[in-house]
């Protein structure tokens, strides 16, 4: 049992390191509290952004937490793959550069898995294979298939999204 856990732990740790590097300039990794007896302790997640000191994930800034959380979620997939992902505004706290990298990452990931992401940002929406617009008319919701030209035109309320 311990062997199975350690093997999965190392696989997820490797995947975390690799996904994180795609999303940010820095490093992220997992550490066992008690490497000799994993089940008697916890699993730490650390992130090092840019030239800054490594920090425990819980003490990172808002946007840094968002990036490391996405990286951890995707790393878990290497041990337990889901066929699709539902992400609701996971880029809310990210600055422009990180959000754009997230969009590119999801575009790449979308070649192997299905992703349904809600986002208000054009820089992220423009990386999708398919864009769905939701709008309200007389108090009820409807949808429209969108392409990026209509969004960038700002053509009316229904295409309004974070510019």
């Amino acid at each position: 049992k311990r062997e199975v856990f350690i093997k999965a732990f190392e696989k997820i740790d490797r995947e975390l390191r690799s996904v994180f590097r795609e999303l940010a300039d820095g490093e992220a990794w997992l550490e066992l509290e008690y490497p000799d007896n994993p089940f008697s302790g916890g699993v730490f997640m650390l992130g090092k952004f840019g030239d800054k000191m490594p920090r425990e994930s819980a003490s990172l800034s808002g946007g840094e937490k968002a990036v490391i959380s996405v990286a951890f979620l995707m790393a878990l997939q290497s041990a337990y793959t889901s066929p699709f992902y539902l992400f609701d505004e996971i880029d809310a706290n990210m600055d422009a550069e990180k959000a754009e990298r997230l969009g590119e990452f999801l575009n790449k990931w979308g070649e192997a898995s299905q992703i349904i992401l809600i986002s208000l940002r054009d820089t992220v929406l423009s990386k999708a294979h398919n864009i769905i617009g939701v709008y309200e008319k007389e108090g009820s919701s409807y949808i429209a298939r969108l392409n990026m030209e209509r969004i960038v035109d700002g053509g009316g309320k229904r295409q309004s999204s974070q510019n």
């Binding site: 808002g62 066929p83 539902l86 706290n93 575009n107 979308g110 070649e111 929406l125 229904r158």
Partner: protein, 161 residues
């Protein structure tokens, strides 16, 4: 497997029947605040078997029915393409429908035939699909993943293995 189509009627802000076609890869959903984007996620969780109204941002299940709907019934259908047969059935596409009535009663349908929540949940689990998996991140919930304690994180890894 992937979701090819979603049909929502009388559920939350979707008064009239709305069909959403999804691509195999990276789909993005956008629109103004309050337009109904998160309600789409709620609809997917609902049809996959979510029974906790709190997880669908309501205090009771009957609140999920659209307030304006002439027929007080909520209905969500999902079409899953079974290309790799991760769902252990013959069919190439699997259709699941869930109906919710004002008195709180519910009906589930699998490929047109009446079914049960348990049967559908078991079927979906073989393709690693569940209404509350780690692959679903509701609005505002992302950063909790960075904020879990080391003990909780170990538990997450143990569950996965």
């Amino acid at each position: 497997v992937y979701i090819s189509k979603l049909e929502i009627r009388g559920f939350k802000s979707f008064e009239k029947n709305v069909t959403i076609e999804l691509a195999r890869g990276f789909n993005a959903v956008s629109g103004q605040n309050g337009s109904g984007k998160s309600n789409i996620i709620d609809a997917i969780r609902f049809v996959l078997g979510e029974n906790s109204p709190k997880s669908l941002r309501e205090s009771k299940m009957s609140s999920l029915i659209n307030e304006k709907a002439k027929i007080k019934q909520g209905r969500v259908s999902i079409q899953i393409v079974n290309d790799n047969h991760a769902l252990p059935v013959q069919e190439e596409t699997v259709n699941i429908t869930r109906e919710l009535f004002e008195d709180g009663s519910q009906k589930y349908f699998l490929n047109g035939k009446r079914s049960t929540r348990n049967a559908i949940i078991d079927l979906l689990l073989s393709a690693r699909i569940s209404f509350d998996g780690i692959n679903i991140v509701p609005q505002g919930a992302l950063n909790r993943i960075a904020e879990t304690t080391p003990a909780e994180r170990r538990a997450i890894l143990e569950d996965i293995v």
